[in-house]
Structures are given as C-alpha cells and as structure tokens.
Symmetry: D2
Subunit: 504 residues, 4 copies
C-alpha cells in the first residue's frame, strides 16, 4: 500500500519540484484569519459532505432543485412550475429568506440590507423602505428570517425564488403584501416557505436525493486522487476522525468511491475505514458540539445500530453513531485546542466547534475558486471604488453642507454603477462575501470563526506538515499608522459655517 501512495504522490505534479510551488496559484492557497502551527495539531477532524466529498456544481444542485420542484407539484403546486430549471448564476450561499414578505435578502453582519429580491425582481432603495423602513432586519428573529447557510440550501433558495416569481406573475392570483389570493385560498409567503421545508424533509426522509447520488457517483461527486494522499500523510502524524451528519450507508457509499476507487487509484485494497482512527456518523451537528447524543456502535455488515451504548476503549476502524464532541475528545485522548476541524458549514461545523469547544477550524469554501477569479479579474473596479471613496471625501470637505454639489451626486452614481458591475461579475445576487465595499454576514462569520479557509481541504497537501500559518496582526483604528482615517476637515472654520447657518 505504501508504494501505491508514494507513486500517487510522485505523480502529483504540484509536489514534485520547487518550481511548481512558486506557481502555486490562488486556488491552491490556504488563507489565514488567525495564526496556527500545524505542528501543534494532534488531531484532524473532517466533515464529509462538501468537505471530503465535493459535489459537482451545478449538476448536484440541479438534482436537488428538480426533486424539490417535483415534490411541490405532486403536493398540489401548479404544473407550470415544472418549466423552471436550476440557474446556478442566481443564488448565492448565506442569503436570508424573509418568510413574511417572501423576499430574498443579502445582509451585512449587523443586519443592514445589501441586496433584496422578490422573485427575480430586484428591489431598489426607495421600494426597500416600504418593506424595511430602516433598511435593516433583526436577524435574531429566527421565526421570521431563515438563513440559507449551506451549499445544500442553494436549490432551496432558488426554488423559493421561482415560487414567488410564478405566483407574482400568474394572473389567476392577486398579489397581496404577505402572499397571494386566489378565490377562497390565501397562499402566504410563510405557508409557501413551510411547504418548501416539508418538501425538503420529505426528500431527506425518503432518501431520494442520496439514492440518486449513490446511483450516479461519477455525475455528482468529484473524485480527487489527492484526497487519499492527504489522509495517509496526516494519519502518520496525527489522529484523524470523520464526523458526519449522514447515515452509515450513504457515508460508506461516498467514502468507498473517494478512497477505494480501483478504477482511479489502481489496486488499492485498503478499506476506506482504515484511513481514520474514528468514524462517527449521524452526528446531529450542531447538537454534537453541545450535549450530543448517545454513542452507539454501527454494525458495518448490516449498517444497523447495535443496541446499548458503547462504553469501551477506542477500537480502530469501528464506526459509531451519535455521540458528542466531548466523547470524541475522550476516545481519542485529545483536547479541543489540539484539534483542527475541517468543515463546510459555517454554523454547524465552524462557529459551534470554535465557540463551544475551542477547536481550531478550517472552513472549506468551494465558491472561493470563483470569488478569487473574479477578484483577480475585477480588482481594478475595486481599486476605482476606493479612489472614488477618497475623492468623495475630498469633495465633501470642500463644500458647504447646505448646498448639494452635483459632482458629489455624479460620483455617488458612478460608485453605485461600479458596485453593481462588481456584483454582477459574481452572479445575480453578487458575491458570497461582499457587496461593493461592504462585507456580508457570511464573510464576517468566516473571519470570526474560521482560523483557516480554502477552496478545498486537499490544499493542506501543499503545505508541510509542520507549517506555521501566519496571520497579519490586526490593528485597531487607533493603533493603525495607515493613512486612514484621512482627516477631511473643511479648510474654513466650522465655527464660521455655524454662524452663517444661524444667520439664515
């Protein structure tokens, strides 16, 4: 087996010589929010879905979308909905559904609205205030606002937009503030959202999506020959565990494809389970990071749970169900700060493991490939935005506040155009991480809770196993020696201006 792996690694063009490393491109980089030495990491944990197993986009989201759409039609929604197909250019992760008004919102970390759409129609500043007078939402109101945090939510996001679009434009229905009326029936945005959640639960409970995925792994799941290489390398130096919310059968199907793929990796015969010291399925994150559940053994022959609770020592290759982060630390004999946990779910994987357990965290952000690409291509737009910002400030200080300078308006208009152009380069709802110069809620959570982040976990392979990931020191505004805040004091005395005002 070691030979096979060594061959595999030698085959890897990126690792084979120093020259390539120089060319290491953005896509392969791991980015750092807080400094971290791999040397201190004694244990690596991995989520499975969208972490070890990357789903092919938009094939996988399309599949989810179609299952949801068909389920909704089969529960009574109009057949016209079948005409909609998934459009990957529309939805972005991290958006918020306002179940009261049926809007899709993009917000910053404080709840200020950055973008708002109703169906496919984008709502602009003036009209937004009809819905949200302060252009602001209390996002703690989770009864009303639903955050679409995961990549699994993309199909859900899009179908909800399609529903709103359909009923808004369908002449049989009257548009009301909180929904649609058709004869005796009132279809509230809230009930449509509830129907969508029920459809999602149905697809999950019946296992349709998983079944379809397992039947056509080539179509839906990316195969990455570097993954077994990474896991092998890590396992020699540290403990490795898998902690997934998926059930055993699905986990086994996916992991065999990724780690025991003879068609791709030659004659590897090692079981996928041998790559891990501990495998836990049905973890029910985020509860897993709080009280957790009972830990049971899985019978790997039948996929069924053993009755009773496992109380013994760790046995290699055993698969468990349930448990909690505390139990895992006990079984593996490690402390929270010695663990680097790699996952894709900003809330369930990253925020919770960091905040409740003090784990080190690595967020997988597949969208980063595109984000980096666009950033590279359109950096000039951002630079121009920055220049205009400074210029605007200059203008500002030179004008009297009582008059409105037409030049200021024209600059502000130009800035809006630039922001829009930047946004559109990412997709119709713009970037996952920003809208013009402002960051999204998702971006701020990423910066607060993820120590590291990258397009894929496999990128860890491009760093030595004792690598020191180093973050720049964060300076507070008063500590900073940067030219900001630039002082835009008017040249004339403010006292003078105030006197003038008073005379008016």
């Amino acid at each position: 087996m070691t030979d096979a792996i060594t061959d595999e690694m030698d085959m890897d063009p990126i690792m084979s010589d120093g020259e390539h490393r120089v060319k290491r491109n953005f896509q392969q980089k791991v980015f750092v929010n807080r400094s971290l030495t791999l040397e201190n990491i004694k244990c690596y944990g991995f989520d499975m879905d969208y972490t070890l197993a990357m789903y092919k986009s938009p094939e996988y989201e399309s599949l989810g979308f179609e299952l949801l759409r068909d389920r909704l039609v089969s529960t009574g929604y109009p057949h016209e909905l079948l005409r909609y197909t998934y459009d990957p250019s529309f939805p972005t992760r991290g958006l918020v559904i306002d179940t009261l008004y049926g809007n899709l919102l993009k917000v910053d970390s404080n709840g200020n609205i950055l973008v708002c759409s109703h169906g496919f129609r984008f709502i602009k500043g003036e009209t937004i205030q009809n819905y949200y007078p302060n252009k602001f939402i209390q996002r703690d109101d989770t009864e009303r606002f639903y955050i679409l945090n995961t990549l699994f939510n993309l199909s859900e996001t899009y179908i909800y937009v399609c529903l709103v679009d359909f009923f808004t434009r369908c002449t049989r229905y009257t548009n009301l503030l909180k929904g649609f009326q058709h004869g005796d029936l009132f279809m509230s945005f809230r009930s449509m959202f509830q129907d969508l959640r029920d459809a999602m639960d149905h697809i999950h409970d019946t296992g349709t999506l998983k079944e379809r995925t397992l039947k056509n792994l080539e179509k839906y799941v990316m195969y990455d020959p570097n993954l077994p290489v990474l896991l092998t390398r890590i396992k020699e130096l540290a403990k490795v565990f898998l902690a997934t919310n998926s059930d055993f059968t699905y986990t086994e199907g996916i992991m065999k494809y990724l780690l025991e793929n003879p068609a791709k990796s030659g004659n590897i015969k090692a079981s996928w389970r041998s790559f891990f010291d501990l495998i836990v399925v049905d973890t029910k994150k985020p509860q897993f990071f709080a009280g957790g559940n009972v830990l049971r053994q899985v019978d790997t022959h039948t996929g069924k749970l053993r009755i009773g609770t496992y109380t013994g020592d760790l046995q290699h290759g055993t698969v468990y169900s349930g448990g909690s982060s505390d139990v895992i630390c006990d079984l593996l004999g490690v402390k929270g700060k010695d663990i680097l946990y790699v996952g894709d779910h900003i809330f369930g994987d990253i925020l919770k493991s960091k905040k409740r357990q003090g784990w080190k965290t690595f967020l997988v952000v597949p969208e980063l490939s595109k984000e980096l690409q666009v950033w590279e291509d359109k950096k000039n737009l951002f630079e121009e935005l920055k220049r205009l910002d400074v210029f605007l400030a200059e203008l500002h200080k030179n004008q009297d506040s009582s008059s409105t300078d037409p030049e200021i308006s024209s600059i502000q208009y130009r800035m809006k155009v630039l922001t829009y152009r930047m946004d559109m380069s990412y997709g119709q709802m713009g970037s996952l991480l920003r809208s013009g110069a402002r960051q999204t809620l998702f971006a701020s959570q990423l910066m607060r809770y993820a120590d590291l982040y990258s397009t894929s976990c496999v990128n860890l392979l491009y760093y030595p196993c004792n690598h020191l990931f180093m973050a720049p020191p964060v300076l507070m505004p008063h500590e900073s020696t940067s030219p900001y805040p630039i002082s835009f004091t008017p040249s004339d005395l403010s006292v003078t201006k105030m006197r003038q005002k008073r005379n008016i």
Copy 2:
C-alpha cells in the same frame, strides 16, 4: 445666549485657528470602524453616566470600592478587609469573573484565556490547565461567568480580587478548589460573588453612591466647558436626546452641574433641559432596545412619575421615564439609521442599539487616553514582537519538525517577555484591548458594534458638522495584497521528509 456660546467657542483654543488643528493630538481624535457621514445624522442620542458625565478616576472608583468593602464588613465579612484600598493600576474593564473557581480572567473573542489571576496571584500556563484544560471558557455560560463590562464594575472587580486574596492568605481558612473552609462554614467563590452582588444592589437601592457623588460633584465629576458648546452646536442641526438608566433626581443633579454651572460658564441661565429635545430617565437599557417599558412623564418639580401613560406629541423640555427605543423614534420622528447614539456601555448602549435597532453608534472609551499613550510609548515593543513573529516563521520553515531548535525556544521566551512588558505598561491586568498580539473580547466587540469611538464625546467638536468619518476598506485574507500570509514552505520537499519519517 448665542453670544455667550460664541464667546465660549472663541475661547476654545483648539477651535480658534488651523494651526492647532494640525496639532490635534491622539486624545482628541475620533476613530472609525465603519464609514459614517455626520451629514446624514438627523438625531444624536446620549447616555449620561461615563458619557456626558465623566467621573474622575480613581476618586470615583475608590468611593465605590469603599462603600462595597464597608458594606461587606457590615454584613459579616472580617474587619481585616478594611485594610484594603482601591488600586487603580490593577483592574481593567472587560474582565470575566469565574464564580466557580474565583479566578479573574481576560479572554479573547472566542473565549481563549489571555490572563488569569487568583486574588493578586497570576496563574501561568501550566497551572491554568488545572482549572481550564483547554485554556478556554464557554462564555455563554452566564450562570458561571460574569463579564465586568462597564466602568462601574471596576470597583466590584477589585473588591472580588481582594476577597479572594484575603481568604487565600488568611490562616484561619483552608483553601479548597471551589472556596474556603473554616470550621462548619464553607465559603464558596460563588457565595462570595453573590454577597458582592447583594452589596452592590444594597448600595444602589439605598442610593448611597449617588448621594455621596451629588454632595461632592467637584471631587467626582469632571467639568468640561466644551460640553454645552457641543450640545448647542448639535442641537442647531439635528435633534438631541438624553437616555439614561439613572433616575430623575440624580440626572438633574449631574446635568445641572455640567450644563448650568454659573461658577464655570459665566452667566448661562438656560435650563439643562433646554439642551435636549427629549429627556428619558429610568430607561432600563438594554431592555429599552427590546420591548421596553411604559413611558411616563416625570413631574420635574417633585421628581415623581405622573400616573398613566403619556400618549400625546413631543413637548420640548418634558422629561419622561421608561419607554423604549421604538417610542423615542416615534416621538422624534426619526429612523434608527438616522440616529448616532453615544454611550459607554459596550453591551447595553452599543451592541444592543446596533443589533436590535440598526442605530449608528459612538462608544466613549475613557481608558483610550492611557491606551493611546502607552501605545505611542511602547510601539517599539509591538514592532519587535512583529519582527520576532516573522523571524520565528522563518526559523520554523528551515528546521525539521522532529527536532526542537533551541533558537526557537529562546525567541518564544523573548516574545513572552515582550508581551508581559507591554501588558505591564497598561496595568497589572494589561490593556483593555489586547494582550501582546491578541485582541480582547472587549476589543472585538468594540470593532464589531461601535461605528466610531473616542476618549470622550466632546471630541465630536473637533470635526465639522458634515464630517465624513471614513474607515479603510476591510480586506479579507484572500483579497489582501499585503505580504501576509508569508509562505514558509520548507526548502526541502515535504514528500522527502514524509518518506524519511516513514522509514523511522
């Protein structure tokens, strides 16, 4: 009246000519976390305590400390406690009391422990792990951890440290993990904390602290002649309200001293109430920013509440009690994003007004004077820390992970010494905002929730009334063009190293 004010302003050396403005020093600056144009602000709100009214330090904290100490002794604590006096060099705002183990903690935004003291004894790395195996606390556990967020808490913080110190060293008491034993009596850290809270409530309920303050305003409250100037200037351009948790009698006593001080401001006869469009006492922040309470009128002759709820329009100079942020917006006819609220309480004033209501926020941080001073003086230590950090990374990449480089240890030791020296420059518990290169929980909340911050609200006077406060754009690590993250890839192939390892 206008003449008087104009004179006042002319008298102000800072405002009188451009030259001084150039010299505008750090102490007078307003710092910016998120860009904000004063031109858009239609309404200014002010907290009173530690915002309009700056208490003299350490006189005021000493007074609070003595009242607490004497109360504890009168409720049965040993007379030996009377020997303790307030030491302003010890406590810092934003610390956390662990009521289980009696420790005082300084933590970062994720709950990692930066500094830990038990009484006056500082606990170091190895010993910390006895208490906190992961050097981490779940700070959501508010049953156990009590955050000392306000300047009012400083005396409380210090007396708790004195209590722990006394019993730890008193030979009559046996030291146990969760408290002290003396014969039949067990004094838990938790019960000591409870006694302290009760003493605090007693002082508050009996009004002793307020009474003593009002009797000697010169001793305890700073008088700033610029304050009436600021309020007058603002009121000509925007609406102004006062929203304080204090009661009417105390508010009137303090505000008269600040705004109707004939000894200081000459012949000003205007009532302090005329500086505000709306005055609200007994606001019960933070509830004020959620559901709030009933709004009642205060009879300004008797200081008593009028019965019933006020339902009419805003009347100038009327004083109200209770209410909520929503009611205030209605009465003043403004929206949340048009308000700049100035306060000193990171949670009750700033976080809540920002998160629940979308207000613009200005945090008053009196400690900033000292923080800025130390930062200027000791910036070289921080620069050296940064250089060592980079150097350490360089060393790191050039050594094999299996051996420990003595040079690395010596650098790490040097870094600890530098961090300690920096910390000590601020006081025994270090800076309010950082410990070496790491930021405190308080600093991270300040950056997230306060749009502006400064040593005093009066510093607004040094900016024109249409000033554009401009924040530098925040770049995420993958967007940044800075030299970070520096790539510390080992020159030898990591694959080679792995092979070697495998052979061992």
Copy 3:
C-alpha cells in the same frame, strides 16, 4: 335516506320499547361529574380513534405489540424477544414508566406510588424505598417519567415490561441500577425506552399499523350499527364535527367501514362525510387546542392537501387538515361552552379542551365495561375494606400509641390482602381507577376534566336529546353531614397520656 335511518332505528332492540330501557344496564350508562343539559349543547365534536372507532381488544393491541417487537428485533435486539406475546391481563392504561430505573409505576394524583413492577416482578414496600425513599415521584419531571395515557400506549407498556424482564433474566447481561452491562455495551433503561419510542415512530411513519388495520377491518375494528343512528340523530339537532389526529386516507378507510357499511347496514349510500358539518384531520391535538396550525383543504379525490390556506365560509362535506379549536368555533359559529367534545385521550382530548377552551367534555373509557363488572362482583371486598378501616380507627383510639397492638397488625395485613385481591380481579396491574381505597392519577384527572364519561359514545343514544345529566352536589368535608370524619378521640384524656409518656 331518512327511511333507511328510521328503519335502522326501529331495528334497534334497545330503542324499540320502554322495557329494555328499564333494563338499561351499567354498561350503557353515562356517568356524570358535573351537571350538563344536552339542551344547551349546540355542537358535538368527536375524536375518531377509540371514540367513534372502537378497536377490538386484545387483537389490536396484539398487532401493535408484534409490530413493535419485530421492529426492535430488526434493529438489533435479541431474537429471544420473539417468544413474548401480548398478555392483555397485564398492562393498564395510565401507568408511568420511570426511564431511570426501568420500573412501571401506578401512582395517585399527588405522585404517591401505588404499585411498582420491574419487568414482571412486583416490588414491595421495603424494596420500593430503595428506589424511591419517599415512595413518591415528582411527576412533573417529564424528562424522566413517561405517562402512558392512551389505549395506543398499551402495547408499548407491555413491550417495555418484556424488555426489562428479558434482560433481567438473561445470564449474558449483568444487572445494574440503571441498566444492563454486556461486555463493552451498556444498555441503560433510558436507552431501551428511547429505542422503543423510535420503534413506535418508525411504525407510525411507515404507516404499517394503519395499513394492517385497513386490510382487516373486521378483525380490528368493532362495527356498531348504532353509531350512524347516533350521528344522524345528533345532526338534526346540533352541529357535528370530527377532529382526528389521523390522516385523511386512514380516516376515510375507517369511517367508510363504520358509516357506509353495506354488508351491515343494508343499502345506505350516503357518504360518511354527510354525517358531519365539518371534518378535520391531522389536528395535532393537543396543539390544536393552543395555537394550532394552518388550516388547509384536503382534496378528497387524491387525499392530498390543497396548497394555500382556506379563508372562505364553511362548506358542507369539505375535509380540512390542521387548524385549531378557535378556527373550528369560528367556522361553525359556536362558543366553547356550547360544544360537547367526545374523546378518549384524557390529556389531548379532555384536559386540554376543558382547560384551554372551556369546552364541555365526554370521556370514552372502554375499560369501564370491565371496571364496572369487577366492581359489581367484588363490591363486597370494598365494603369489607371500608368496615376494616372503621374498625381500625376504633382500635386505634383505644390503644396506647407506645405499644403495637397485634390486632392492628393483623387488620392491616388483612386490608393488604383484600386490596391485592381487588386489584387482581382487574388484572395484574390492578384497576385503571383505583388501588384498594386509593384513586389513581387517571381517576382524579377523569373526575376533574371530564364532565361525562361512559364505556362508549354510543351510549348517548340511550338518553333523550334534551337530557339533563345531573351530578350530585360535591360537599367539602366541613360541609358534609355524613358520619365522617368519625371522631376517634381516645376515651382517656390525651393530657393524661402525655403525662404518662413524659414519665417514661
């Protein structure tokens, strides 16, 4: 149609002449806790399961038991469990599972333990105190104690007893206080209970029990020709609704059998829906009596829900899903006190409708047939118990408290024997309603919340439609002129006795 019904009624031997009415036996009586005039009832509501549809016992419970047992074995429980079969003489409704110790408890309304079994082994006074020192449980602790309130719970009750019995006696397992140990596996009583709940959910979610019932209605559901007669009669005088937690498909299957049965009721062609003014399925009681859920129409052709919320007027024969008790009152135009609601679930149907909505209530208690039979047969035991009680009191007053009278012991022993004999006449866990002279929790809830109760709802037929059900006035002890409390004052002066005691 009226002819058919009239014929039907003429066919009814019970109704056809006065003589039968005289013979009206206990089984046909409706009992009264609080007076109620049918004349004032403007609306009758019915639950379906165990109310309109009486399941055949023990066939139906046996079916449930077997499905549960087989499911548990298929999830890993030992095959030996298959040897157990349902024994209707063991379980009683209203028992409590203590999930901590695996015991089955019968308690009174204040939580005092009346009977306790561990598996099939009954635990006696002394041993009970090992588990429950005060012979008392805090039944509000619903995390620990699970009340088996419904007839559906009988099979669940029995399988849990079988599980505890099996593992207690199986030599492979070691008996511990909170469960069983087998090698590395610990099987807690709590986890066994959880497995049982999961198995129950599985059977419910997959619809197995419902499917099997619908396939063999003759075997599992009693057909009562009087039911359509009752509903017809009521509907002429008042409004009638059906409110069931079952889904539409199952409801339709059952109700067709009961109300459209051509084999039994001749050529009736009326739809079962025509018997009701309003039919609501999926009611989710008890939430139905609180906030409730969205009300949707059911497409009676497909059984699927219509999308959107129904907002129109009541349409006869329409089937709805969800809703709430408030919505039903609105649709039918009745107030809570005008409704007589007939159900079998003491908590979900009766307590909640009474306490939250002020409805009149009629509890169906099928066990009452047996209870009445045994009561008739064994009344002499109860009379003897009462006599002994009085005799004991007499003895008591004539003896000195410091000595123990052997006669008292022998009477107390005799009373225990009588209580046991009475209990055994009902079944192994005794009566649903009492244990000797003490009433069960179920009995006390029945008396508090059910205005009327009877073996079957069809018994309403034996009373005229303007019948006044009359309860005897309840007198409080101090109002009562009954011989109780009998004064058992010792004939010698208590003072004397006290003096004597003091001398000893």
Copy 4:
C-alpha cells in the same frame, strides 16, 4: 419548665375534661381530605404569618390598605382616593384580577367565571359575555390574570377595586375598554395594576408594614395561650421546625410576643427558639420547595447573616436563612412523607410541598370560622337549592324540548335568587369556597392539596397525638350507590320525539 407548661395545660378549659370535648364545636374541628395518622408523623413544620401568628382582621388588612392607598397618592394618584377606607365585607381571598379589563373575577377550578365585578359594580351574565364571550378565562395566562391567593392580598384586592371605582366615576376621565383617558394621559388597567404592585413592593422593601405591626402587636396580632402548649406537646413527640419567608428581626419580634409573653403566660422564661428544633427564615417559598437557596446561619445577636454556607450538623436553637426543603429533611433526618407541614398559603405552602416533595399538609383557613357559621345558618338555603335542582330535573324530563316551560324559568330564577342570597351571607364577593352549588378554584385546590384543614393550627390540640384523621372513601360516579345520577328519562319514547321533530 415542664411544670409551667403542665399548669398551662391544666388551665386550658377545653382540655380539662371530657365534657368540653363533647361540646367541641365546628370552629375547633380539623377537617380531613385524605386519611392521615398523627402517629406516623415524625416532624411538624410551621409557617409563621397567618399560621402561628394570626393577624387581627380587619385591623391588619386596614393597615395594609392605608399604607398602599397613601403610597399610591404619594406617587401621583388623586387625593380623592384618601376618602376610601377598607371594607372587610367586600373582598374574598382567591379572587383573580384581569389586568386587561380591570375586572375582579371569582372562578371555578376550570376557569369558568362565577362572579365578576368592575369596581364595586357587579357585572351580570349578558354583559360578562362582552368581556368574556365564553364566560371563561385561560387562567394559565399569568401575564394577564393575577390570582390573589393569600390573606396578605386582601388589602391589595380592595385597593384595586377602589381605583377602578374612582376613575370610572370621576368625570375628568373617559372610560375606555382597557383603561381611562384624561387629556394626553392614558391610564390602562394594566398600568394601574403595575403601580399597585410597585406600591406593594415599596411597602415591603421599606418594611413599613412590619414596623407598624411590631410597634403595636396587641392591636394587630392575636395572642393564643394554647400555641405554646401545642408546640410543647408536639416537640415531645416529634421534631418541630419553623419555615417562614419573613426575615429574622420580624420573626423574632412576632415569635417573642407569641411564645415569650410574660404579661400573658406568666413567668415563662424559655426562649421562643427553644420551641423548635430548627428555625429557617427568608425561605423564599415556593422556590424553597424546588432548588432553594444557599443555607446560611443567622447571628441571633445582630440579626445579620453569617458569611459562608453552613455545612455542619443540626444545632438546636440555631437560626438559618434560606435553604431548601431538601436541606431541611437532611438536617432533621426525616423523609417528606413523615412531615406534616402547616401553612396558610395554598400555593406556596401547600400545593408546592405536596406536589414537589410529597409532604403531608395542613392548611390554615381563618375564614373558615365565618364560612362554617354561615353554612350552619343558611344550610336551609342550600337544601332548597338542592331540592329545586331535583325538581328542575323532573320538570325537564316531562316537557318537550321544543317548548319552553314557564315553570322552568321561574325555578331557574328562584335558584339564582337563592344563590345570590347565600353568596351575600358571606360578603359581597360571596364565599371563599363556593358560589351557590359550584365550588371555587380555591376550594378545589384545598381539596386536592391539603390533607387536613382547619380554622387554626391550634385546633390540633383537641386531638390526641396519635389521632387517626379519617377521610370518607371517595367514590366515583359509576361506583356510587347514591341516588345520583337520577335518571330523568322522558316517559315518552325519545325516538317518537325525534320522529315528531323530523316531521316539523
């Protein structure tokens, strides 16, 4: 000491010979809800206020009323309120304030409204439905409904009625559904209730009521020479504790008066504390019966708490503060079912100790004196009510439901008159325990949770110390051999009647 006590007991005319016992009147009886042998009681617990210490009525309630009234006026309520004085004939314990509509309600155990007043105006059937369409309240809605459970609440009840009365009749105020309007002020019933609660808290916090009581004990507290006799007698046979929510100073003042009263009991010199094995003040019932609080020693010289928690064994005569029912059982070495707890608060003393801890309970109901008196005097009214009830039922069965019998109406009217006359015999809000034939919420709780009840705890003295209190067996309606339910079957066939109806 024993001599003194023996003398004392010999002096007691009631105990001195058998003849008196024969005359033992209703006022001296202890009534029994559930059988209980004193012989099994190993520990007696007593509440103080209204249990050991009986306050003189109406002097004490008047004092409370005046303090509340004056406080309200001093906080801004109109001076006209000072004209109101306490009227003991109006309020009854156990009433409910509806803070939404300002009504005072008397309800039965299921929330059905028995009596309703608005100020002093009684609201009748038709008008009640404007407020409460179903003549029913959801009394679980404790945000809206406030239950006045204790004798301390009587003054509060009455002042609220006065407030509503005053504003309703004052021409300056407009009557609205939820309060009163006067110019810009809206005085909601809810805010008036809040003001009342605040006034109550003020009186409690400042200790005014306690101070006034201690200054004039003769006026406000009944002295009963039998109390020390009872406690002495009990203490020889069982353990005795005092558990009061009052503080130490007040407790000592009251208990000295009751137990160390030289003016009354001669030369007794024993400390009041010697009557108890354990004294606990500041118990914070009902929390005392749940988690409880920290147990501290009270320094009986200073009345202050000792710092730290007491962890030693029970010391006789020591006074503690706080604690919990569990701690008390531990200190005294008794189990819950061995304790008879005597108190006056149906919720805080009786329901909680019974439901949470399984204690035996004895409810002191001072009102019972009057209730018994009226019951004796007016029993004939109740008998006539019962006769009319039966007669009504007879009439009922003989008439056709479609017609209304004038005789029925006249009987129903007569019954209303009788009910009203009975109610008025008790006071304006009627009896504590019933309204005509229906029992109040208070009565039903008394029957469920109090094992024994009596006018005073001293009545225990009239029973020997091994007395068996015996309750009559409670029969359920189907078990009863009483003439109820009388069968009022119409003589004509109901079928016939239905046929006739159908023809119409």
